[in-house]
């Protein structure tokens, strides 16, 4: 029954019919060809190039690289920067957990009690996205600065010691990550909770479930796919983030994203940067594949 929409002139006479049938058979491929090519050349091939670059030896002055099958790059980079990987895990993990804890109640409230104002509340959750990511982070620098709106007033009121500071600490980085990625956590949770069939909940109450039991044994299990999606959409980008760390953090809490960015843009160490990116991608792939295995890769689309 499928009619390829773009195939021109559905066979009126003789030879045209043959061409139309060919067009019909090719239609799905022709339609996906431009996107497929674009993603092949500018998504898959770059990843292969990155892997090959990590095995090359580069001239730090010019950035020119020669293939040397230098596998030692990986252990070398890891021994240099394993601490930054650990810091990234720590910060991204903390921010993700904070976001899950903070956004679950609001997602639950909007889904169950939002009534006809649901769209308004969802828009409010998305409000940060109307300001550029970099500007958002810079504004947090202003808010958290030693003499800024909050700390300055608290210090003037002698509620905080004069030498108290938040900027340049790990706490500031986690706070920035948690703020910037909160909508990525809240929206999947909302979608998952909203989808719960109220009749299942009613059934639980009819069977004398307490509210607590209804929550832990009905709502929470049904929300797990959403929690998993929220985790993936928050943790993976936060893991590679370096803007929050660069703007809000200090020199003592460098994340792996900063190291990769410096390798590529400051030191022109393409081999080292590629090796670190490959490791970061491998780490992310563990979560991505786990997600695809358990929930199927298409489900992510429901939570975007």
């Amino acid at each position: 029954m499928e009619q390829p929409v773009l195939a021109r002139h559905p066979g009126r006479v003789g030879s045209r019919r043959g061409r139309a049938r060919l067009g019909k058979a090719l239609a799905p491929y022709l339609l996906s060809l431009p996107a497929g090519l674009w993603l092949l050349v500018l998504f898959l091939i770059p990843l292969v190039v990155m892997l090959s670059l990590s095995l090359q030896t580069c001239n730090f002055g010019t950035g020119a690289c020669v293939m040397t099958w230098h596998w030692a790059e990986f252990p070398q980079q890891l021994s240099l920067y394993h601490a930054q990987f650990v810091t990234s895990f720590y910060f991204a993990g903390a921010a993700t957990l904070i976001d899950l804890a903070v956004s679950f109640p609001i997602a639950y409230w909007i889904a169950f009690y939002g009534g006809n104002k649901k769209n308004f509340f969802l828009l409010m959750l998305l409000v940060p996205f109307f300001v550029s990511f970099v500007i958002r982070t810079v504004v947090w620098e202003f808010i958290l600065s030693d003499q800024g709106v909050i700390l300055g007033s608290l210090k003037n009121a002698h509620l905080l010691p004069q030498n108290f500071h938040v900027l340049a600490t790990g706490g500031a980085v986690v706070a920035g990550l948690a703020y910037n990625y909160l909508p990525f956590t809240a929206l999947p949770l909302y979608v998952a909770i909203e989808r719960i069939d109220r009749r299942v909940l009613d059934a639980a109450y009819d069977l004398y479930a307490t509210r607590r039991e209804a929550f832990t044994r009905v709502i929470l299990p049904l929300t797990i796919p959403g929690i998993f999606a929220a985790f993936l959409l928050t943790f993976v980008p936060a893991l590679g983030d370096y803007v929050n760390q660069q703007v809000l953090g200090g020199t003592g809490n460098t994340m792996i994203g900063t190291v990769i960015q410096n390798a590529f843009l400051v030191n022109l160490d393409y081999a080292g940067g590629s090796a670190l990116s490959a490791v970061l991608l491998a780490i992310a792939l563990v979560g991505i594949f786990a997600y695809a295995r358990v929930l199927g890769s298409r489900t992510i689309e429901e939570y975007l």
Partner: protein, 290 residues
């Protein structure tokens, strides 16, 4: 999506068990949760309010940077919004880039969505592979994508500038556009197309008169997504920008030496335009209840 919900408000559970779930639940859902939610919304809006506020902050030192301390109200920066030529040109570059990349990504992504919605494996071999690639593209950390693109451009010796930015922005938008358009096409009624064909329309006329108008809202949603992704992108742009510096990359560079107040003026303006568009779409949605 919100149309699916049970009609009367939602708190169905309350009505079911009034005897067993008395006072405490009411107080909890009536006061604690709403209060909490409004606190979170305030938390999300607070930095934006600070940004707007600081765009009116006077500068007391001679340097053109916003100070952390509040020095008094001024409209100076709104009057001198284009006094920093690099910032203004970065802003227009971002707008141009977003428009062009939106056009490319929307066309390419919509075609892909059409293929994914209408064809299944016997006719469309490799569909699963395409879906896996899209998923990977969306879920992979952006810094890896940006770094690998830089690696590619360096390897093939392509000078970094507007072209590399455009290639990269379209690359990370296609999957999002395809997903958005496909989601909106899910409830598409194929019998309308068949009716058009029965009435003698050829494929092209059917597409132009039936299919395209019906999927247009989905395409617009996809285009909006692509535009928002492009204009706000920092991580990938920072890797592939080279001499052409888009707005977020310029702002990031400026954090090292101090942010000129005009940045907050641009930020406030973009925010105002975005919010107006969002409110307009909500209002239009109200007028036409589905």
């Amino acid at each position: 999506m919100s149309a699916v919900v049970t009609a009367p408000g939602g708190p169905a559970s309350q009505d079911v068990s009034p005897a067993r779930a008395p006072r405490r639940r009411r107080r909890w859902t009536r006061f604690v949760l709403p209060a909490y939610s409004w606190v979170i919304i305030a938390y999300l809006v607070f930095p934006i309010a600070v940004m707007v506020l600081y765009s009116f902050n006077k500068v007391t030192t001679g340097l053109p940077q916003v100070s952390f301390a509040w020095n008094g109200f001024t409209l100076q920066w709104y009057e001198q919004w284009k006094d920093i030529p690099q910032l203004t040109s970065a802003f227009w570059l971002s707008i141009r880039l977003a428009i062009v990349s939106t056009i490319f990504a929307t066309v390419v992504g919509t075609l892909l969505a059409l293929a994914l919605v209408r064809y299944r494996p016997p006719r469309f071999r490799g569909k699963a592979a395409v879906e896996q690639i899209m998923f990977l593209n969306i879920a992979a950390p952006e810094i890896v994508l940006g770094a690998s693109l830089l690696g590619l451009f360096v390897t093939i010796n392509l000078a970094r500038g507007f072209v590399t930015l455009l290639l990269a922005h379209v690359a990370f938008s296609i999957a999002y556009v395809a997903v958005t358009v496909r989601a909106r096409m899910a409830g598409f009624d194929r019998s309308l197309e068949e009716a058009a064909a029965d009435l003698g329309a050829n494929s092209w006329v059917t597409f132009r008169k039936i299919t395209f108008p019906l999927i247009l809202p989905g395409i617009l949603a996809g285009a909006l997504m692509a535009f928002a992704l492009s204009i706000d992108d920092f991580v990938t742009s920072n890797f592939v920008s080279g001499s052409a510096v888009p707005f977020p990359v310029w702002v990031y560079g400026a954090t090292r030496i101090g942010i000129p107040p005009q940045v907050f003026v641009f930020g406030s303006a973009i925010f105002a335009v975005g919010i107006l568009c969002a409110i307009a779409s909500v209002v239009i949605g109200w007028r036409k209840p589905t």
